[in-house]
């Protein structure tokens, strides 16, 4: 078990290093940072001074080393446009994004898993077919389109604008969580079906364990194991989706900041957001791996 945890920690650290290095490479090769930083009509000497100040005339490996050292010291650079630290800009936007993301995840879980379980229990019936048709729709619907429909519906039916800074989180979260809900529902259904038909469920029945107890005590814990992986993975999709959704709803989150920073070539900010997203993904996957230890004894004893 200790070996398992150490291996997972090591893998997380390695993944993070690769992500950080890729950010370095992409930023370096997407154009001359000095030229981007200097005022648009600056003469060559000024650009050279910038390059000198940023250490761009040193060998690449030295730049890489000082970049890593900088990250380790928490120096993430300054936004070109506001002059404020990238970290500060990010932290300012983070609460809104967290609010939107967690609401979306909650909606996806609270609706998707019961829907899929209900379909599995009523397999082959009209309920099952309806639930699955709905989840395919939910999964296939692009969120920029659905978001527009929600805004339009809100305006026409409730006479309320669902977007903007002061709006309720619900409409945007619904839009963002829709696709994840669809995939949770489909996955919960197939996972539960597989478990319900497992030999140990028949055996529990033969021991006189009543139906509801079999579902709650034997089927549910076993079916949850693969679902945990999916939830971890779909967090990536949620983050990617939040970039679009925040844009559609004018939600003042990190996604919006990212889009704006990319458009204005605000390198330090883009770099920091990309790193933050990579860190989140690595952390979540580490968490999923550790959660396995709790829910699956087969991994615990490895």
């Amino acid at each position: 078990m200790t070996a398992y945890i150490l291996a997972k920690l090591f893998r997380a650290a390695a993944t993070l290093l690769i992500a950080v290095s890729m950010v370095f490479v992409f930023i370096r090769f997407s154009g001359d940072p000095a030229a981007a930083l200097a005022p648009p009509d600056a003469p060559q000497e000024v650009i050279d001074q910038y390059a000198e100040a940023m250490g761009l005339n040193k060998p690449l490996w030295q730049q890489y080393a000082s970049y890593l050292a900088g990250l380790a010291r928490g120096e993430f650079g300054y936004s070109i446009h506001t002059g404020r630290p990238a970290l500060e800009l990010f932290l300012e936007r983070l609460p809104s994004t967290l609010r939107l993301g967690s609401a979306a995840l909650l909606i996806a879980l609270a609706a998707g898993i019961p829907l899929g379980s209900f379909a599995a229990i009523n397999r082959g019936t009209r309920i099952d077919r309806f639930a699955m048709a709905f989840s395919v729709f939910a999964f296939a619907m692009p969120n920029f389109l659905f978001g527009l429909c929600v805004i339009l519906g809100g305006a026409l039916i409730f006479q309320v604008y669902f977007g903007g800074t002061d709006a309720s989180v619900l409409p945007a979260a619904l839009t963002l969580g829709l696709a994840a809900m669809g995939s949770f529902a489909r996955f919960a259904r197939s996972s539960l079906l597989e478990t319900i038909n497992a030999p140990f469920m028949r055996a529990a029945e033969a021991r006189g364990v009543p139906y509801m107890r079999r579902l709650a005590f034997h089927a549910a814990p076993n079916a949850a194991i693969p679902l945990v992986t999916l939830i971890g993975l779909s967090l990536g999709a949620l983050i990617a989706g939040s970039v679009v959704t925040e844009q559609v709803f004018g939600w003042p989150g990190v996604g919006q900041l990212l889009v704006r920073s990319v458009a204005t070539r605000d390198i330090a900010t883009v770099q920091f957001i990309v790193l933050a997203v990579a860190c989140t993904m690595v952390l979540v996957n580490l968490l999923v791996d550790l959660l396995y230890l709790v829910i699956d004894p087969r991994i615990r004893s490895r």
């Binding site: 150490l6 028949r202 004894p297």
Partner: protein, 537 residues
């Protein structure tokens, strides 16, 4: 005793099959009773309806198999309708059922102790009493360290331990009737003998009756008081064990018995030049990730020699390294050290085109024909694929594949069909045809008949023999079943924990085993020839 009221009585039971099956009824007109303290064996091939009878007694027939006629009475009272809630208070308390695969019939994420306590809980045993009773029961089924087993998860148990835990659960509340559905089929002979002994002891101690379902006449001869023989959904013969075994009336019973006896017959031997020589072979498996490295020394210094046209049976329990050794010879696994010589040439480290040419000469038949054949490929193209890869013209390869289908006892038109349209026995014939399409000089069969019923087993073993005398290939036949080994082998190699403990002419090893382990294996195998004698007790 003969007049004691039956624990279970089945009268005229008929269960319908869904339309479009190969027959209208899963079982028809079943009449069977089990008296107190009695063991009734229900024998027949797979598909004969044995399990349907078992499930109807415990009320677990699926909706697709409706009971259309008949009465099921338990302790004089009629049993509730199938799948009804009333069964919850009978199952586990009055009637228990145990399945073939014990590990799979335990919840993988719950400790075994908790699963035993659950049985007590759902049948209303007070919380305080549960732990003690579960622990006592684990001890009663002969598990070495009950407290440790109680805390274990199913994956930490061996097949034999898991079956003991399942039996503990089934007998926890001293039910009047235990239904055992092929409970030892997945176990090796030594463990099988232990489990059969355990069932016999507990049955007596707890005053249960047993309905034992099996396809294995060796087991039947050992444990049955009465025998019911099933064929195509009907009981063709039902009577006292001695009568059925010594003077079977129905031709089908006679055929099953003949098949079981025949596989116990020993073959004579011949001789010629070595096709395969293995010297001091070692193999270690290394698993796990970067930091959780583990190694298992699976094969420890195995040497053997096999001549053309002869069959070497490799015998041992599961985990003894038989298959690992075979995988080395097949060059599917790279040996750590040692030499493998094929027709005098060292093949231990062949690569590239020479390895490819070797593959043609050594072919492989595996245990499970269903998973060793591509379900989406027609039979003919599956058989012809090998020769085509080895540069045979397509037309020629397909003509030969059709011939081989007939040689292996199928019709040439079967080649147009897909694997799911065949039975297990037929598919194994197809796998054999596929192996022989490349005209190998060495055939390695890994538990090639273990998944098949006895009468089919005998047919496939016959097929191996007749093909061997026709084509003259040498054969390594891996099996845990001593009767199979005895019927097919010229030479025998007994393995334990990766090492060879005994080898020699099959007749010599069977008649005068030298190593204690071989003796233990031989005495553990339920043998149709040596019927139990200590019955009067």
């Amino acid at each position: 005793m003969a007049d004691a009221p039956a624990v279970l009585s089945i009268r005229n039971l008929s269960v319908a099959l869904p339309e479009g099956g190969d027959r209208d009824y899963a079982v028809q007109g079943i009449a069977l009773d089990v008296k107190p303290g009695e063991t009734v064996c229900l024998v027949g091939e797979s598909g004969s309806g044995k399990t349907v009878v078992a499930h109807s007694v415990i009320g677990m027939l699926p909706k697709a198999l409706p009971v259309v006629d008949g009465k099921l009475r338990f302790e004089g009272r009629e049993l509730p309708p199938q799948r009804s809630k009333a069964y919850d208070s009978l199952r586990g308390l009055k009637i228990s059922l145990i399945f073939q695969d014990a590990v799979a019939s335990l919840d993988p994420v719950q400790r075994t102790g908790r699963q035993l306590e659950e049985i007590l809980a759902v049948h209303g045993v007070a919380r305080r009493a549960r732990f003690k009773r579960a622990l006592e029961m684990l001890e009663a089924v002969g598990l070495p360290d009950p407290a440790r087993i109680y805390r274990s998860y199913p994956h930490q148990l061996s097949g034999g331990q898991a079956q003991r835990v399942v039996i503990a659960g089934a007998l926890l509340l001293s039910p009047k009737l235990l239904i055992a559905d092929e409970p030892t089929t997945a176990l090796d002979v030594t463990t099988q003998a232990e489990i059969l002994g355990l069932l016999a002891r507990l049955k007596k101690e707890r005053g249960a009756s047993v309905l034992f379902i099996t396809h294995d006449f060796g087991i039947v001869a050992e444990i049955a008081d009465r025998i019911a023989v099933m064929k195509d959904g009907e009981i063709v013969e039902f009577g006292a064990a001695n009568t059925v075994l010594d003077a079977p009336e129905h031709p089908y019973t006679r055929r099953l018995l003949a098949a079981a006896r025949k596989s116990a017959a020993v073959r004579e031997s011949r001789s010629s030049q070595p096709v395969l020589e293995v010297d001091d072979l070692h193999l270690t498996y290394r698993t796990g990730g970067l930091l959780s490295r583990k190694s298992v020394h699976a094969v420890k210094g195995v040497s053997l020699r096999l001549e053309a046209g002869r069959t070497l049976a490799v015998v041992g329990e599961s985990g003894s390294g038989k298959s690992s050794m075979a995988r080395c010879i097949l060059r599917l696994e790279a040996a750590d050290s040692g030499a493998i010589r094929f027709r005098g040439e060292d093949i231990t480290s062949l690569t590239g085109t020479r390895l490819r040419a070797l593959r043609k000469k050594i072919q492989f038949v595996q245990q499970d024909p269903y998973s060793s054949i591509n379900p989406r490929q027609r039979i003919l193209s599956a058989i012809a694929e090998g020769p085509i890869i080895h540069d045979a013209p397509r037309r020629e390869a397909e003509a030969k594949a059709a011939d081989l289908l007939e040689t292996t006892g199928l019709s040439a038109v079967a080649g147009r069909r897909y694997p799911h349209e065949f039975s297990g026995g037929q598919l194994q014939r197809i796998c054999i045809a596929r192996a022989l399409a490349l005209e190998p000089e060495l055939l390695i069969a890994d538990e090639a008949v273990s998944a098949l019923d006895v009468s089919i087993q005998a047919q496939i073993l016959d097929l191996f023999r007749s093909l061997q005398s026709k084509f003259g290939f040498a054969m390594v036949f891996i099996t845990h079943d001593l009767r199979v080994a005895r019927s097919i082998s010229d030479d025998i190699l007994v393995m334990k924990d990766g090492e060879v403990v005994e080898s020699g002419l099959a007749a010599r090893v069977f008649d005068a085993p030298a190593h204690p382990y071989t003796k233990a294996l031989l005495s553990a195998a339920p043998d149709i020839a040596s019927r139990r004698t200590a019955e009067a007790a």
